[in-house]
Subunit: 446 residues, 2 copies
């Protein structure tokens, strides 16, 4: 993309309403615009990141054997009356009357609807196990929306639901979700720690939430530093192998890690002192096992191999996709702007032309641009007639991990400058070597 | 995907409520489930098609130089009060009050919001031309939703908006949209004819709608048969070249083609009689130029090179993505089910195992499956223990363009059977040749 043709409305001033770094930086970098309290437009740069996260979530869910579909944003109130949650849910549920006077609501979550789909179409244990998921806009009418997309009202979320014959199968589904979530966060450049949690309004026995460590997190967290060393890396995972999947979960849940809600002082004190850590965390996902809580009242039953009719065991599993954009920024920024991890960056590299209009420099930039695209990379080329300082400031603000600076002086020596946004370190090298370097860096990310 | 692990709830009975083929077939093929009047869940098979259409629309919009972003589903009423449409829009607008008593609405279209984004961030002619678009769920509270996703209330739509300095630039944007739409439909296997149209509630001077010929279409259409022979094919298009783009529009708009709303009997009668055609058509898109209708009242102005402040010239351009799923089926089905065009099929080929459990047949199917995946194709493997007849009926119903039938008898002679869903013709050939054939058929589609 050429910046002269893009829509990147960066702001010079820091917006007064933004209290935390991600909100401030998303506004300044032209990623979002507020349209009403807690309701945002995703401007082109923001949408690109959101879409990358959505694709990563899809890929990891499909890899785990979960099946994508899509439920609507609006739901009939009657479904929620069946489960008893229509009255329980309170004011956070946005209730709507259509022109025919029928009660609708903007879905805050989808347990009722997915259970309805299941009971309408599935009747035999032979159709199990089954995990369906979707990524869809949801609405919670927060009384005090704030922190930008971190606590918006209209938000984009992946929620998945498993249907299993018994507790053991449902626990495998639970574990499969935990592992697929760990992979998802890791690909996004995040370390998200699974922590035993309270179940809240969804209900349930087993539940973990995933927290990203960040000063601005809403929860206080206590953990054993051993856990921050864990990585899945390139590990091949057979999601059908119960033991293998359970083994990974054990690895990740053995070191102590709890939020203030479930913190156990005695257990914490048993950890060697130098490994005891306290911090704050941002919740970016949660998995639940809740058994027959919905299948029983809503009649989601299957016939077993002995002809018995039993309610299915279910769980629900969510990743806050729009919130993750904010969480990634909270965990990856400095005083000059965002620092995107390679897995989620909106563009793979910025090209800064130091002398726009100079025929040779322009041509070198165009060649670089074409060479990067030929490698399957997406460059953002700042081809505006602007001072170098302004171009650098924009690149730093929007946080592309790599910048290639092209100027007449370097070209005379056959080199361009490759700069890491994270370390600030620069290196002069031939343009084709810069391209090769970026190709290697992004191998596995595109 | 293995069918034993998929969620494909096909129906044996034809649902009574479905009046047209696409609605009937989408329900029977397990593509959708109605959740409330005109509000649908997209079950896995339906979602796969919807996503393919979404991706084609994105690709063709980006190719034309238009910039993707995403606006929220809910909008503040105040924006619509500014344009005067809040009161005008009538009962089709779904009006909502949030817990704070503020007026929101579920966006039926986005002229106001995009104009607000523009005026907040753009002030100079140097930032023009600019075309922004998004693909998002919208809501129109139809009094009588029907025909499934063809006339739903919650629907998925691409809407794009151009901002230009003057009429000539805006006309180029208009033409660019016409050409990018023609390419989009062609990739979906559809012939959509641009027809001069009335402008309706959006307002505007120049407007064309795109109609797919189908017996169940809501509009009567009159056209010169010359137009159905036009094809863009692999033509390289330079979207920056005004004359080239305008030339294509002239090609497609010169032969007579009108709906009953704008039909001109005298012009029609001037066409040689054998070329005069009457049919019905389904509207799948519309483009509008409306000048300063929104920019003037809402203050979307730029400073020109002479320092003058002028309202920008705008247009809006829509493709009904969810409706297209239905339109494609209306134009592509027979008495046994759907017949997907190669460009939009949810899976590229079906594999039917005639003797599930037979070691050699199973192994041959697995090898085929792996070989197709290695070519970047997505097979759907019917690995259920079912009669051949039931497997064929399912494949015919869900309409994959190609089926590979694998049985012990053929394997003894080293062959499998490749069958075209459209022609019904079969051919016996070695498995590796079947894979090579499909690779060639799908070249350019994946």
């Amino acid at each position: 993309m050429r910046l002269s043709r893009y829509f990147l409305p960066v702001l010079k001033e820091t917006p007064a309403e933004a209290q935390i770094a991600s909100h401030r930086l998303m506004l300044r970098a032209g990623m979002i615009k507020q349209q009403a309290a807690g309701i945002y437009s995703w401007l082109p740069l923001g949408f690109k990141v959101l879409r990358r996260l959505e694709n990563i979530v899809h890929e990891e869910q499909v890899r785990a054997g979960h099946i994508p579909m899509l439920m609507p944003t609006l739901q009939p109130a009657d479904l929620w009356r069946e489960s008893g949650r229509y009255d329980d849910y309170g004011e956070e549920m946005l209730r709507i009357k259509d022109r025919g006077g029928r009660d609708l609501l903007y879905g805050p979550t989808n347990e009722e609807m997915i259970t309805d789909i299941f009971r309408s179409h599935v009747g035999s244990y032979k159709d199990l196990p089954l995990t369906l998921y979707h990524i869809q806009w949801k609405f919670r009418d927060e009384i005090r929306p704030r922190f930008g997309v971190m606590r918006g009202r209209e938000f984009f979320m992946k929620d998945g639901y498993n249907f299993d014959l018994d507790y053991e199968n449902a626990m495998h589904a639970y574990n499969r979700h935990m592992v697929s979530y760990l992979r998802t966060y890791e690909r996004m450049g995040l370390q998200a720690i699974p922590m035993r949690a309270d179940s809240g309004p969804i209900g349930g026995d087993d539940t973990h939430e995933f927290l990203v460590l960040a000063e601005t997190g809403e929860s206080e967290v206590f953990y054993d530093s051993e856990i921050t060393g864990l990585k899945l890396g390139d590990r091949e995972i057979d999601y059908d192998n119960w033991d293998e999947v359970a083994g990974i979960c054990t690895e990740w849940t053995t070191p102590y890690a709890r939020t203030d809600e479930t913190h156990d002082e005695a257990l914490f004190d048993a950890i060697p002192e130098e490994r005891r850590k306290t911090s704050r965390g941002i919740e970016v996902g949660q998995i639940f096992y809740f058994g027959t809580k919905y299948s029983e009242p809503m009649g989601a039953v299957v016939t077993t191999d002995t002809g018995e009719r039993v309610p299915v065991h279910m769980g629900s599993h969510g990743i806050g996709v729009s919130r993750l954009v904010g969480a990634i920024i909270e965990a990856n920024h400095d005083e000059n702007g965002i620092i995107w991890p390679e897995g989620v960056t909106p563009f793979h590299a910025g090209i800064v032309n130091l002398r726009q209009g100079d025929a040779e420099t322009d041509a070198a930039c165009e060649r670089l641009y074409a060479a990067l695209e030929a490698e399957g990379l997406e460059p953002l080329y700042d081809d505006r007639e602007e001072r170098a300082g302004a171009k650098f400031a924009t690149m730093d603000l929007i946080g592309l991990p790599w910048r290639i600076t092209v100027g007449p002086r370097g070209l005379k020596n056959g080199v361009v400058e490759l700069t890491s946004r994270r370390t600030g370190e620069s290196e002069e090298l031939a343009p084709e070597l810069a391209v090769a370097r970026l190709r290697d860096i992004y191998a596995g990310h595109i």
